[in-house]
Symmetry: C2
Subunit: 363 residues, 2 copies
DNA sequence: ATGAAAGCGCTAACAT
DNA sequence: ATGTTAGCGCTTTCAT
């Protein structure tokens, strides 16, 4: 065993309390095992051309020193990080966690790991965090929803393979996307309610972001196709938004609510409860997204295969990392209506009403 | 303007599709601006001793090349990452997201950024992910719940300042903790229900992890103090666990449920609904944690100041990063009962019943 | 005000 | 099978 002058004991230096100060490096391990740095490197990577005896000595030395490889150093020289950056719009919406499950599964399966950040739905924070990912040299980027402009997105995609989950993003080189058809999905909700005899079907919107506008458009077209008068009330992709929107909608006489997303639908339910309205006897509610929690809440929803979306996205991304110059692919996932207890027959007094009759607050 | 032989145009090389290949480095920027690497480094850090003219040329060159600093390189030489690693037990439980809010707020306020990982409640994945954080040389570690053994935890805390959120962790050097008092919290729930006239109060447990056992102990002691017969049924910290546990409990005649956490309480609600039992008329339900969603769900709960817990944890951690050799501090946060619509008076036929009367399934 | 040089911890030829 | 060497991209003395 060889000891160096810098660390006479060959043991990692510790402070009086036993906390480590300077972390041991390859050099320390090599000195302690009496071999060269390169051999230690080889041994630690499990190379077969290291003599068993040396390997053992090296492993022992590393263990005794509490050696921990320095990823920043190895990434630097290897010019690879084997890391995928993931940005989540909002950690509070369980929907995104479910998408992330799929992403992680696929990423790990392919031997990468993830760096997770969130902008908390704030555009400035979002940009900062994504910049950090880029500076950390992630090899690909999964955006589980985002608030970037097309230009910003395009610049990012030029820098690193990127995939957007939750809405189709066309016309940007080096960028794939995975999404459901929100127009068709909203139509499913309307059709479902029409089948149940509803005509006063209102839409609680999710604001003016792309997804919300798509869902709104789907609702409007479906209503038109059924020759029904539409009513869109302002909401947001939050419980709060659903609460306020539902109040307005039932105030105007709605017997059914197509709510922009599941979180808002939960808020809508709260508003109806507060008003003493029964679900689905007085008012039916349909959400959008299909988060698992809704099963427990007995809420009808337009469901998307969330984990699968994440998986598909990560797979596309990794394919693009391997072959960067590939035309963009846009995957559409299947959207379906999951009927649960929050949607039921229209109240008898409201049924068979003149279809396109104007809305009024007197039901 | 100077051009180098490697990049004759001074522009970053791009593939036919316009995607970047080799990323520009300081060297490229320096060449394009006609100055040395060191000056570029200084300029980019905003050093005042760079001549305005040079600074401008450098900034322009960097911009034109789409230069992006390489964090791995700078971390390596600076021997600092300014990064805090955060491990979240389970991203699906919104409770953790709320704690994370506080962590991020404090971390950013102190000029650090976070690296977020999750083990999905799987111990093996958890260890792998935490190892990655260590290899990435995070300067501190926030564990928002974890499944590590005391030995593993102790080894980690020796390596890097660490703080555990959600339960008190004593006797480990270099480790702080932030938690509520789960025994006292469970007692609040029992007291609340007793005040409402309940005596057949069952506990749907959260399994055999530390938190669940504490809450269970609190329930048992409180029941004993009220001279009531306890009934603990097996559950888990999931909707599923709450569902199953609630079924058993009401089968045994419970009129009130103290459920191990909010997620399980939501599951319990679903079970009661499926049985046609009304809440709170037939059965009262109290959750634990205080996640925001419960407000919409009108669920009574034992609430903890989640974001604050995260904030306090991050602040403790950063203090420890600055002064590593500090005795451990353990912060206790206040726990309080938030009464909502899921808890109400005991059904009349069940009230005033012999307190310690044995449980039976006939109510 | 600017540049040259050394080196952070590691890997990967290339020798031997 | 093992050691030597030359960097990866960056920061930071230390000269000038």
């Amino acid at each position: 065993m060889v000891t160096t002058s810098e660390t006479p004991t060959g043991l990692s230096p510790t402070s009086p309390s036993g906390l480590q100060t300077r972390r041991p490096t390859l050099h320390d391990v090599a000195a302690r095992a009496g071999v060269s740095k390169s051999l230690v490197s080889l041994a630690l990577q499990g190379s077969p051309k290291v003599a068993p005896a040396s390997r053992e000595a090296i492993l022992a030395a590393a263990d005794e020193l509490g050696y921990r490889p320095n990823r920043t150093a190895s990434s630097l020289v290897r010019q690879r990080t084997h890391t995928i950056g993931v940005h989540i719009l909002d950690l509070h919406n369980p929907v995104f966690a479910e998408i992330l499950d799929g992403v992680q599964e696929a990423v790990r399966r392919n031997g990468y790991s993830t760096l997770l950040v969130t902008g908390n739905a704030d555009p400035a924070t979002e940009r900062t965090e994504i910049t950090r990912l880029l500076e950390s040299r992630v090899e690909g980027l999964v955006l589980i929803a985002h608030r970037l402009s097309d230009e910003a997105l395009s610049a990012i995609a030029r820098e690193v393979p990127t995939v957007v989950v939750t809405w189709r993003t066309d016309g940007i080189a080096g960028l794939d996307s995975v999404a459901g058809d929100d127009v068709a999905g909203a139509r499913l909700a309307v059709d479902h309610l029409v089948t149940l005899g509803h005509s006063r079907i209102a839409h609680v919107s999710g604001g003016d972001n792309r997804i919300a506008l798509q869902r709104r458009a789907g609702y409007e077209r479906a209503m038109a196709d059924h020759a029904l008068a539409p009513l869109v009330v302002d909401g947001a992709f939050t419980e709060q938004g659903g609460y306020v929107g539902a109040e307005t909608a039932v105030g105007a006489g709605a017997t059914a609510l197509v709510v922009a997303n599941d979180l808002a639908a939960i808020g809508a339910l709260a508003a109806l409860r507060a008003r003493g309205l029964r679900v689905p006897d007085d008012v039916s509610v349909v959400g959008y997204d299909g988060m698992r929690l809704l099963d427990s809440l007995d809420l009808t929803t337009v469901a998307q295969p969330l984990a699968e979306m994440g998986r598909v996205a990560a797979d596309l991304l990794i394919k693009r990392i391997d072959v960067p110059d590939t035309p963009s692919t846009h995957r559409r996932v299947e959207t379906r209506l999951v009927a649960r207890g929050s949607s039921g027959m229209a109240p008898t007094h409201a049924r068979g009403r003149q279809a396109a009759e104007p809305w009024s607050s007197s039901t």
